[in-house]
Amino acid sequence: MPNLTLIEAVNAAMNFEMSADKNVLVLGEDVGVNGGVFRATDNLQRNFGEMRVIDTPLAESLICGMSIGLAVQGFKPIAEIQFMGFIYAAFDQLICHASRMRNRTRGRLSCPMVLRAPYGGGIRAPEHHSESTEAIFAHVPGIRVVIPSSPARAYGLLLAAIRDPDPVVFLEPKRIYRAQSEMVEDNGVALPLDVCFTLRLGCDLTLISWGAMLKETLEAAEYLAAIGIDAEVIDLASIKPIDKVTILESIQKTGRCVIISEAPKSGSVAAEISAIIAEEGLTSLLAPILRVSGYDTVMPLFKLEQQYLPSVDKIVKAAQHVMEF
């Protein structure tokens, strides 16, 4: 089994599925010879040719809209948007067409496509390269939003996203693209969509996070364990739809919850999880649900981004607060 980083796992999943299914295509800016600016598509054009690994003109709406045209014709396009900060030009195509093609044709046509984009802060990048706006996408009916947090989950979830019959927005936490290597068997086995992954069992409180923030969340859980607080850690993974069952079962057990996300706080996925727990798990709660999140500000330029992003310390403080409530 090879040791892969998250970005290598993304590459391996696409490579596997392109070999297995000739209808899988890759398209985007610089995805060809260059292999993508993060190298997610490295060697794919060499392996599968220019017709299947397509360097597109620099036009995000086209990339998404063209993917819709390919998908209704039976292809399975994997479109790369170079950074999430440039995805908004493609948003009209996603919300007005990709998400509703199946519905508005009563199943006559469908749109099995993946829109991949690196997202999130912490890599000292220029403006527009560090945002986490997954909540905008999670609000759109008809799509799935998936965020992996480890190489193995990136591999298995991307395979699942490619094979899914509906459009999937696949957001890759670029801060941890190369943070960690782990054994990933390149065997084409997909992970299930629409479910959370419980990364650590605990009985005192539930920490819910996704993407790169799981790194700090797991570190916080280790710290908490050392001071006698036994935290359960859930990787949300499926941002839309949300696996309510796993979350509510965990809350039933622990009665306490802290949600950790680097996105702005208001109107966020963290807010949605809070609402689910308040609506359906209120009687289990022993303390208020807390959110450790980014602020309702523009993502700062990189000199202040560590102040913006949730830290282990902030997570621990929030956990202690709900334990002491």
Binding site: M51, D92, H97, R104, T105, G107
Partner: protein, 357 residues
């Protein structure tokens, strides 16, 4: 300085508003348009006009939602439907009922859609055609993916995408032209220039002399055709579509026509449109000139024309009756087809809706 490139945009017209043909019927037959085709064109155009008139009446009497009339645009829209092959894919905007009907969509389906029932988008006959596209020009990007699919699979098929004069101002239009030229895709763009984007006239939409010339920036050719002349439209579309099919790349046709109706039944064009302009446009409308051509060449008699009109009326009335008698959708229709398999959360919401009734 030296000139490194020059471009030109051609205009063509075969049948002018005075019903004069710039060639003979024999020559036309050699070019593939026989007298029987002319009759067929007329019948299809009359059918869509009859349908259109009826649709507006249905809206005015509360039996249809907002409806975008295609009055005045019957020639170019019908020509697209008559020229495309069944295996080609049509990518419509929202004023293209004539083309869809030619391609096998039923009038009941079109009424269902504008009557607020999405079952109307489940086209029969042309089941790979895209559904109506209400946002402007976004469908152009879809046509790129479809044409790319044909090219990748080496299929001799063509994508034909339609937008209006207003649509040519959209980014998606330009992005699509650029991509079509880059990859030399089998796609034909038809810009139905009806002079109006709701209330904004063509003169305020673009500083370009022609909209056809926008193709040149995309790296391929564009032309203008009299969009009210179904013969000219058919001839030029045939060349463009067959060229694309043969692997010679994209083309753009700007069809000059006039929106004789309001933008939709929710609009009142008298607020912004000069009555004299409209009157002039009526003198150039597409059905009258073809009717006069048929009469002048004794290809049809007055009584046969009346019979065709009666036949159209009957056909439309039968479709309307079927539309009005269509069974209502269950509430579950809201939730079906959101995903191939309904996620748990949606099942829960559906059951909430069902129990709240």
């Amino acid at each position: 300085m030296k000139t490194i490139a020059t471009f030109s945009v051609k205009y063509s017209q075969s049948l002018n508003p005075a019903a004069e043909l710039n060639t003979s019927l024999e020559q036309l037959a050699t070019a593939g348009i026989h007298s029987s085709d002319l009759l067929d064109f007329y019948q299809s155009m009359l059918l869509i006009r009859t349908f259109d008139t009826k649709a507006i009446a249905l809206q005015r009497t509360g039996r249809l939602g907002t409806y975008p009339s295609c009055l005045g645009q019957e020639a170019i829209s019908t020509a697209i439907g008559k020229t495309m092959h069944a295996e080609d894919v049509f990518i419509p905007g929202y004023r293209d009922a004539a083309t869809l009907i030619c391609r096998g969509t039923t009038m009941q389906q079109i009424l269902l859609y504008w009557g607020g029932d999405e079952r109307g988008m489940n086209f029969t006959g042309n089941n790979q055609d895209l559904p109506y596209n209400v946002p402007i020009a976004s469908q152009c990007c879809h046509s790129i993916g479809i044409a790319y699919a044909f090219k990748l699979r080496r299929e001799p098929r063509v994508a034909v995408v339609v937008c209006g004069d207003g649509g040519t101002s959209e980014g998606d239009f330009y992005e699509s032209l650029n991509a079509a030229g880059t990859w030399q895709l089998p796609v034909v763009f038809v810009v139905i220039n009806n002079q109006w984007a709701i209330s904004v006239p063509r003169s305020k939409q673009s500083g370009c002399t022609t909209l056809a010339q926008k193709a040149i920036a995309g790296g391929f050719s564009g032309e203008q055709v009299d969009g009210n002349d179904i013969i000219g439209c058919h001839l030029q579309l045939t060349k463009a579509i067959e060229n694309a099919r043969a692997g010679n790349g994209p083309h753009l046709i700007e069809a000059i026509t006039y929106r004789l109706s309001d933008h939709t039944t929710a609009d009142d064009a008298s607020r912004y449109r000069d009555a004299d302009d409209l009157q002039q446009a009526w003198r150039e409308e597409p059905l009258l000139r073809l009717r006069n051509l048929l009469l002048n060449h004794q290809l049809i008699s007055e009584s046969q024309l009346e019979a065709i009109q009666s036949q159209c009326n009957e056909e439309v009335e039968a479709c309307v009756a079927e539309y009005l008698a269509y069974p209502p959708q269950p509430n579950s229709a809201i939730f079906e087809y959101m995903y191939q398999q309904m996620p748990c959360g949606l099942k829960q919401q559906l059951s909430e809706l069902e129990t709240q009734r």
